[in-house]
């Protein structure tokens, strides 16, 4: 297609993943002949929408669709299919419903389809509840869902909480499996880089699974040259920042769900809400999604003028032939663009209204101050004032976490005072939330008054590597990202902040108004450039978790038949624990700058609000 030619190396077609999942779902439905009702896990509703619509389900014998809830399922036919995430709580809920049916002397056939994988603990729960013999259990390998031509997501936001907060590794196998699938479709990925504990474990599991499949003839050419696995705790700061790219703002303000967004009446200008898919297929959206917001409106208004001119052509149509051509070819395209344009301009309007309200400027100044490490006292005052005024709790927590993460924890006095005031303003119940944030190392008290003790505790941790002591330490010590030092070494803060070019950016920091370049993306840039960690060891040392690299020898690379010659320029970046739309934009920018094409995979798309909400201890 013309577009990919312009953009450089061609990306592998991710739609295959979607088709495979859809075919498997159809197969699972057909394996239970006749009419059946379907009960869907609420968590799966939106993601499933990307794979199969209601009509597809209907074609394959689904009669009614229910949402899995804590209530009994009445009516319906005598076959029931549950389509759920494999979780203990969900399994227990299903067992309860089946038990209730038995009590009511209702006879049904049950099938549970677990996704992304059937878990043995879930089997155990069904056995424990005495319903194991009554159900057939299947699995649907719905792991990475293509949300766009270069974006894949597991749509598994709870992974962040389960792994980073509770240390539960259940989803790791599914992440590894998704990488195995990718490699069986697009060929083995020769070069693998990773940063973080989880990244290392996933890489190990991928290796195990691949060797279990057996060494294969290289019949599949290699289409992806590099894989970068990165844990979210390597960089908490980036997703905590307020987003200012267009797509990031859409997510912050309207909330993007599985790649689609719902615009309310204030955007559509009618009394209806409209839900649209956000994708690179939409020409208007493709042009603006990665731009800094200040650079969006000018484009849209120029586009509107252009559109008007095209519409006006209809007055100059000379012949019936011309007319026919105009109607058949141009008109529908114009209408499509017109619609997209109207919605995006409406969205801009709402965003502008939203951000001109209140103290947005002061908030941005605070965030930039924290990133740069200047005027920290004023930043704390602003946060305190927000607490006193009971501004949005999530927003306040986001700023508190940003403060703590950029400063390497808070001095005891500030920590206690902010904590007390926070609980006074939002309720003592949120002690539970603060407890979680402390466990994650997102909002912590500095362990000692001076910085030298950091090294000391490192040594202590190294000595007490096993047994209970390390467990205790692990829980008490913040995972120090040493943000300031890393920021200096990676040049995350541009020097010339004053006249930063936002329109034709030449620095990745444009995604945050020229104040900061995402740590995660800069790290990826450095490692890719060096083809490994040599030369960046001093930075890696400051990041949590270990790093690793597996490179296939250059000579061996590209030998395999059918390899895409561009594959060396195709990089798959897998964020473990979520990534933000701003990071996706930053990687697209990096790709354009250095001639790469990035594919971004993630366990979920997140922003500061979603990150905080997902670890809230009290709703």
């Amino acid at each position: 297609m013309a577009v990919s030619a312009v953009l450089g190396p061609k990306l592998p077609d991710l739609q295959y993943l979607k088709r495979l999942a859809r075919d498997q779902l159809v197969h699972l439905l057909e394996s239970l002949p006749g009419r059946k009702d379907l009960v869907i896990d609420p968590d799966l509703m939106t993601p499933l929408d990307r794979i199969a619509g209601a009509s597809l389900l209907k074609q394959h014998g689904v009669d009614k669709i229910f949402k899995l809830e804590r209530t009994k399922i009445h009516g319906g036919c005598d076959q029931l299919v549950y389509l759920v995430r494999s979780k203990l709580t969900t399994t227990k809920l299903i067992a309860d419903q089946i038990t209730a049916d038995i009590r009511d002397a209702r006879k049904r056939k049950y099938k549970i389809i677990m996704t992304p994988r059937r878990l043995q603990v879930c089997d155990m729960v069904l056995e424990h509840e005495g319903v194991f013999g009554l159900v057939s259990i299947e699995e649907l390998h719905l792991d990475l869902i293509p949300l766009d031509r270069d974006l894949l997501s597991m749509e598994l936001p709870q992974f962040f909480r389960d792994y980073f907060l509770h240390g539960d590794q259940t989803w790791l196998a599914s992440i590894a499996k998704s990488l195995v699938n990718i490699q069986s479709l697009f060929g083995p990925i020769p070069n693998v880089y990773g940063q973080g504990r989880c990244a290392k474990m996933v890489a190990d599991m991928v290796e195990m699974m691949m060797s279990e499949q057996g060494e294969r003839q290289s019949s599949v050419g290699c289409e992806i040259g590099h894989l970068f696995l990165i844990d979210r705790d390597v960089d908490y700061v980036t997703p905590l920042c307020t987003q200012v790219t267009y797509e990031g703002l859409l997510d912050d303000i309207f909330g993007i769900k599985s790649g689609s967004v719902e615009f309310g009446p204030d955007v559509t200008g009618t009394d209806k809400s409209i839900k649209i898919m956000l994708s690179g297929e939409d020409e208007v959206f493709r042009a603006i999604r990665d731009r800094h917001f200040s650079n969006v409106f000018g484009f849209l208004s120029a586009k509107a003028k252009e559109l008007q001119t095209s519409y006006d052509k209809r007055h100059n149509l000379k012949s019936v032939q011309d007319m026919k051509q105009f109607v058949s070819e141009e008109l529908s395209n114009l209408k499509k663009q017109h619609k997209a344009l109207t919605l995006h301009i409406g969205a801009c309007e709402t965003i502008t209204k939203n951000k001109s309200r209140g103290d947005f400027e002061e908030q941005m100044r605070t965030e930039h101050g924290l990133l740069e490490g200047v005027d920290v006292r004023e930043c704390i005052n602003f946060i305190e004032e927000s607490i006193n005024r009971q501004h949005s709790r999530t927003e306040v927590l986001r700023l508190l976490c940003m403060l703590s993460s950029t400063q390497g924890g808070l001095p005891s006095k500030d920590y206690k005072s902010l904590k007390t005031q926070f609980l006074q303003s939002y309720g003592t119940e949120h002690l539970l939330t603060l407890h979680n944030l402390k466990k994650l190392g997102l909002f912590v008290e500095q362990q000692a008054p001076d910085a030298t003790t950091n090294k000391l505790t490192d040594k202590m941790a190294a000595k007490l590597t096993d047994g209970m002591a390390s467990l205790q330490l692990q829980l008490q010590l913040p995972k120090k990202s040493q943000f300031r030092a890393v920021s200096r070494k990676l040049n995350l803060i541009p020097k010339s902040a004053e006249n930063f070019e936002l329109r034709n950016p030449n620095d990745m920091a444009y995604v945050f108004s020229g104040a900061y370049a995402p740590l995660s993306c800069k790290l990826i840039e450095q490692v890719l450039q060096r083809e490994g960690w040599t030369g960046v060891e001093d930075i890696a040392k400051l990041l949590p978790g270990d790093n690793f690299v597996h490179l296939k020898a250059k000579s061996a690379r590209g030998k395999s038949a059918g390899s895409n010659p561009d594959s060396d320029k195709i990089v798959l970046v897998y964020f473990l624990g979520g990534c933000s739309y701003t990071e996706v934009s930053a990687l697209r920018f990096l790709g354009k700058q250095k001639g790469y094409r990035f594919l971004v995979a993630t366990t979920a798309l997140i922003n500061g609000g979603k990150l905080i909400e997902s670890v809230s201890g009290w709703k």
Binding site: G53, V121, A304, K335, G346, K416, D466, L471
Partner: protein, 539 residues
């Protein structure tokens, strides 16, 4: 703060050339150090877009074709899972009938092009479609992923669906994998069920979802080796299964002794117990691990279960009592104790207030009857409530805001915010003045606002305070540029004039003349100032 004095002076001067709205947006941007959202074409405006402009453009666009007509074709294809009306609630008996289904058909946007273009493109290039399917024939035998589509295929789709060469290769390798898998299956099946597999093999089987059995692992060494293999291979499911297996098959003391050495196993057991609601067992485990903070958090979480304030106060008090001897948890215990005290106090206040409100004599209760329950609200909300309804009570009363400030050690700033907001809402300007007046050592008085007078003005202006009240507090803003900007925004002309005199900016004062109403006292005041020969104007 960002923005030098010079900048501020510049922006203050600019204030008089633009109208108020634009001025605000511009000043905000100029003051921002990072040239936040500047828009070079239009200059200024927040986020680079002026609201007015956006609104004009969008309404223009909508009117070209009626907005409704523009989105009309959306009716059929926008219903998704999320639309709750389409998914029957199991409790409501309702369900989707087949006709509803049809309308719920979901079409990806790529297929939205009008039917006209679809047919025309088909008729012009039928060979492409045909050729595509011929190429397919080989791979079809190889179990090519079926593309199930309910929508009519457009030409573009048909082309996309033609598998490239690699795909055929993918399928081949997939089949090969399948053969290998089947071979392995057969091999595995041949092995006797009762001999124990190496632990690593069993763990692999758990991970890969193959049948497995743990019962052959009878010796403690085997059980531990199994658990360690699971930990080494990182799979959470396998770890949980093997940990639970150990727990089930050895006595507690051995289990704990071995568990404690393996933090990863501990994490998985804890998470399992959480999800399985085995909270008593979880508590026991935490205690065994001496993780008292976790016990504390667990007990606190449980104590929040009662939805009524009185019940909750009791259960929280019980938690506080059971941890009173643990000095490491003292700070958090204190917070809980305060929460209890607050809950009890809220109940008492509410009890009294019901009587007052029923009496119908209290002006505030009469004009603004409370909309929500007081109990279970945070302290800050309670403070606002008491400032609103009970401001002037003596500080011996339970509901007096001052007594709350004292008893809960509320900061001065917090108190000022809450009280000021409540009083401003009630338009009690005199009490606000008293709130912001502080006595000095010699009996004199001085205006003081710990939150800053610019914030005072902000709150008052939101509650539509009269100009003279606003002017009074504007005058106390120390920074003349900030004062000037705010005064201009709120049209407090006298303050503007005074500040410009202070800044000796005759030119700006000259410009400001037109902003004052004709024949007004303010105009007069301004002209007098301009004629004042004693001021040493800088321009």
């Amino acid at each position: 703060m960002a923005g030098s004095k010079k900048d501020q002076a510049r922006m203050a001067a600019a204030a008089f050339t633009a109208d108020d709205e634009d001025y605000w947006e511009e000043s905000a941007v100029t003051a921002s150090k990072k040239n936040m959202f500047d828009d070079e074409e239009e200059g200024f405006t927040v986020l680079g877009v002026s609201e007015g402009k956006a609104a004009r453009l969008s309404s223009a666009l909508r009117s070209t074709v009626g907005a409704d007509a523009l989105f009309a074709d959306e009716d059929n294809d926008d219903i998704t899972w999320e639309t709750s009306s389409n998914i029957s609630n199991s409790s409501s008996h309702g369900s989707i009938t087949s006709s509803e289904y049809r309308s719920a058909r979901y079409t990806p946007p790529a297929n939205r092009s009008g039917s006209l273009s679809t047919t025309s493109s088909r008729s012009t290039a039928p060979t492409v479609t045909l050729g595509g399917s011929q190429d397919n024939s080989l791979s079809v035998q190889f179990n090519k992923p079926k593309i199930t589509r309910s929508e009519p295929m457009s030409l573009e789709d048909a082309i996309v669906d033609v598998p490239a060469k690699q795909v055929t290769a993918t399928e081949v390798s997939k089949l090969e994998t399948e053969i290998q898998f089947l071979r392995r299956q057969v091999q595995l099946g041949e092995r006797a069920r009762w001999t124990s597999l190496p632990v690593k093999e069993t763990v692999k089987r758990i991970i890969l979802g193959q049948p497995y059995s743990l019962e052959a692992y009878k010796s403690l060494q085997d059980k531990l080796a199994l658990m360690d293999a699971a930990i080494k291979m990182h799979d959470g499911d396998a770890i949980t299964i093997t940990v639970l297996f150990l727990k089930r098959t050895v006595k507690k003391s051995i289990f704990h002794q071995e568990l404690i050495k393996r933090p990863v196993a501990v994490n998985h057991l804890i998470h399992f117990l959480w999800c399985h609601y085995d909270l008593d067992e979880l508590e026991e485990l935490y205690k065994m691990l001496r993780r008292m903070e976790d016990v504390f958090v667990l007990k606190y979480k449980q104590s929040l279960a009662p939805s009524q304030a009185a019940g909750r106060a009791q259960s929280i008090a019980a938690v506080v009592r059971s941890f009173q001897h643990d000095s490491s948890l003292a700070p958090d215990s204190t917070l809980l104790l305060e929460q209890c005290t607050l809950l009890q106090r809220q109940l008492q206040i509410q009890e009294e207030d019901k009587k007052i409100a029923a009496g119908g004599k209290h002006p505030v209760f009469r004009d603004h009857p409370p909309k929500a329950q007081l109990p279970l609200t945070p302290l800050t909300t309670t403070l606002y409530y008491c400032s609103f309804y009970h401001y002037n009570e003596s500080d011996s009363s339970l509901s007096s805001p001052l007594s709350i400030k004292r008893d809960f050690q509320v900061s001065d700033k917090q108190y000022t915010w809450s009280a000021l907001n409540a009083l401003a809402k009630l338009h009690r300007w005199k009490e606000i003045e008293a709130l912001l007046t502080s006595k000095n050592w010699f009996g004199g008085t001085k205006m003081k606002a710990c939150i800053g007078f610019e914030k005072v003005v902000e709150i008052l202006s939101k509650q539509k305070a009269p100009i003279d009240i606003l002017s009074k507090y504007l005058a106390y803003i120390e920074d003349p540029n900030e004062r000037l900007a705010l005064a201009a925004k709120h049209k407090c002309h006298r303050i503007v004039v005074d500040t410009l005199i202070q800044l000796k900016d005759r030119a700006a004062l000259e410009d400001y003349r037109l902003k004052t109403p004709d024949y007004s006292l303010e105009r007069q005041y301004l002209i007098t100032a301009l004629n004042n020969s004693q001021v040493k104007w800088k321009n």
